[in-house]
Each structure stands twice: as structure tokens, then as C-alpha cells.
Symmetry: C2
Subunit: 224 residues, 2 copies
């Protein structure tokens, strides 16, 4: 069975379960899924039961939610679609990197495998999307991205942004205003734990910025 034959809701559930473990080991909860999808927990609970019946996840009541092999394959395929579409929207249709998430979220359920292949070719087989997230290959391989969370790096080292989480569009627009994007260079001046603030410097723009904890968790960097 191809991923295209799954309902849109099923595709969303699988992708979300997979995504939950991409950047941290904490497993997803029903409540978190419901909140992120904008539905009630009872809906998700029900949906997970249907997914389990189709052999895409394993789940006992009140137990953890795990993707089966098949479920994982479908999830990765959806992630590939999403990230290729985001890249396509930016590179070909001139979208801003902060504008593509919602559009890709809908298109990923509608495009054919053929179209994904053509987009991949047109873009020259990109390996990272506009937020710096790795794009899985057609056979589901994906290279884990380099980098650590900005919140976790030592001060005074030259850094380059490798990834910015696309979870919160408003935050992305804020980052865009500040000039923070993948490949932006910066230095952490200091973490101030009790103020919950990380101060960074953008040497190219000669600008210092204070970031709150959610921002500092959303930005991933590598030494440059």
C-alpha cells in the first residue's frame, strides 16, 4: 500500500509521531498531538486506534505510541514530501522561508509521487529544506543534521545557524525581521539563566539580540 492511499488525517498522525522523535527522544503524547493538530484529545485517541488497526502504529490503551516499520516508512515519505515542497516553494515560486509551512502542509497530501520526483529533479536533489531540516532520500534514508541547540553552546565561539525549527510561524517571522535564518553567522555572548535570556551577536550586522528560551531552543548551530 502506498502512502498516497492513506487518508489525509492518517498521513498527518504518522508524520507527527515521527517528527516528535526527530529532535528529542521524548515520545509523543495524545494531548500534544491533539494540540498541534488543533483537535480534541478524544479525536486523536480514536485516530490512533484506527491507525493501530491498519498496522501503522502499535498502541495499547494508556500506553506509548510507536510507529511500525510500515508506519515509519510512510511517515518518512510524508516528511520528504513536506520538505521538498517547502524547498520548491522558496526556490521556484519565490515564497519566503517563513511562509511555506502551511502551504506545504496541505500540498503534501495532494501531490503525486511523480510530481515529487519531478520537483526533486528540478531542484537538483536538495538535501536540506529552507529551515535547514534534512530531506529524506527516496528510499527513506536521511542524514541527521549537524548542530546543537543554541541554548546549549558555549559563549564566544563563531557559529553558523544550521537549522531553525518551523514549528511556530510567528517565531519564524520574528527571526526573519531580526535577520536570523539558516547560514546566518552569530556568536553567543552569554546565557543568563535566571533571566532566561541568551544574548547573541550578529557580527555581519553588528547587532546584539536577546532571545528567550523558546527561541534559543528553536535555533540549531554548528561551529564555523
Amino acid at each position: 500500500m502506498s502512502v498516497s492511499e492513506l487518508s489525509s488525517a492518517a498521513q498527518d498522525y504518522l508524520k507527527m509521531i515521527w517528527s516528535a522523535t526527530e529532535w528529542s527522544a521524548t515520545p509523543i503524547t495524545v494531548g500534544a498531538m491533539a494540540e498541534r493538530m488543533g483537535v480534541k484529545p478524544s479525536t486523536v485517541s480514536d485516530g490512533i486506534r484506527r491507525l493501530a488497526k491498519q498496522g501503522l502504529v502499535t498502541h495499547a490503551p494508556y500506553g506509548s505510541i510507536e510507529l511500525t516499520r510500515t508506519g515509519n516508512d510512510h511517515a518518512v515519505e510524508m516528511v520528504r514530501r513536506h520538505r521538498l515542497l517547502e524547498t520548491f516553494l522558496v526556490k521556484v515560486l519565490g515564497y519566503g522561508w517563513d511562509e511555506v509551512h502551511d502551504e506545504a502542509e496541505i500540498l503534501e497530501h495532494a501531490v503525486s509521487a511523480t510530481m515529487i520526483t519531478r520537483i526533486d529533479e528540478l531542484l537538483g536533489h536538495p538535501v536540506r529544506d529552507p529551515h535547514g531540516d534534512p530531506i529524506p532520500s527516496p528510499d527513506g534514508q536521511l542524514r541527521p543534521p549537524q548542530g546543537v541547540r543554541l541554548a546549549a553552546v558555549d559563549p564566544d565561539r563563531p557559529l553558523t545557524i544550521t537549522r531553525i525549527s518551523d514549528a511556530d510561524p510567528d517565531m519564524l517571522r520574528y527571526f526573519t525581521e531580526l535577520g536570523l535564518a539558516p547560514d546566518t553567522r552569530l556568536t553567543v555572548l552569554a546565557h543568563r539563566p535566571y533571566a532566561d535570556v541568551t544574548t547573541i551577536r550578529l557580527p555581519d550586522r553588528d547587532l546584539d539580540i536577546d532571545l528567550g528560551p523558546s527561541a534559543a531552543e528553536s535555533i540549531w548551530v554548528i561551529a564555523s
Copy 2:
């Protein structure tokens, strides 16, 4: 209310009702709609009732089906989406003109108004799609295409194909094999009514072809 807020099925119904009167004055029937959409007549009958309840069509039981002003606007918007997407798939993603119909049929329900605008700009505001069908402007205007059905033209005049109906993908593939496409030049040698055959000549390829009635009804030409 925007066309995007309609269900996929509602969008399909409206587009089909509109399309039925684009090339001929015969109004659409419930049975014809059911067949073209691959559902049972009872489903369409029901769907039409829902559309009427939303004020998108007028319909009395056993009566004719007419689009309201709003319904017509939405239908034209869907046609615009469909034709722009077909053009985009051919021009940007390298699809064959005979391959785009089904992909566009799905995408038209998923793309945002923003994306349609960007595609339109990228393509330089095209006025005809790959089959020669006119693309409505953003405000719903569309210039009726020139041309008459091949079945209706006099023999021995130099003609150019302006439009090929995209209703039947198999026929399109057959036309592609024969080298018949929009802008192909040809001459009708003869209509042979009792054999139900129209013989045409392609001067550029020095080739004579016999076409059946459905083919001769699907190809529109203009004097060249």
C-alpha cells in the same frame, strides 16, 4: 466565502456544471455528472441538493441545474486553477500535455490563492492552457476561444488546431502519438458521413489520418 472553503466534492460539482456549458448549450444532467465523476446518480442528486442549500445552484426536483452568480464565480475560479496548474506542470515540471489532467484535478483543491497568483506570475499570465483552453483572468473574465469543431469544417482549407478537449486522457495519448496537438497544422481531406470518418492531412509530416466522430468532435481548429 472563498472557493477554498468549499468541500472538494462541492468544487468538483460546480466546475462540472460550468464546464458542461462551455462548449455546448446542452445543460448537464444528473446522470452525466455521476458518470463523469464515477459516482452513482443518487450521490449527485444528494450533492446538488446540498449545493442548492448553500445557494450555489438552483434546482427543483427533476428540474434543470443552474449555477447562481456565486456558484458561477466559484466554478470559474476552479477552472482558472485547473488550467493554470496544467500549464505550470507542462512548462515548469516538464509534464507532457497529455499527462497533466489528473494531477491538476487533485492539486486544484489543495493550492492556495497565493500559490495560484505566484504560478500565474511565474508563467507570465498565460491565456491558454496546454490543450488550448482559455484561462480565466483573476476576476473571472475569459475570452471565448476561437475555432470550430473539426467535424464541422469544410475540406481543403489550411487549418491550425486551437484546442483539444482534455476529457479523455487515452484519446490525448493517441493524439500525441499521431502528432496532433494545439498549433498543429492540418487540412480536412473529406468527411465520409456513413463511414463516420473524417480524413485529415498533416502537411508538415506528409501524413493522412482517419479520425472517428469522437476525435473529430474533440479537436477545434481555426483557418490558418
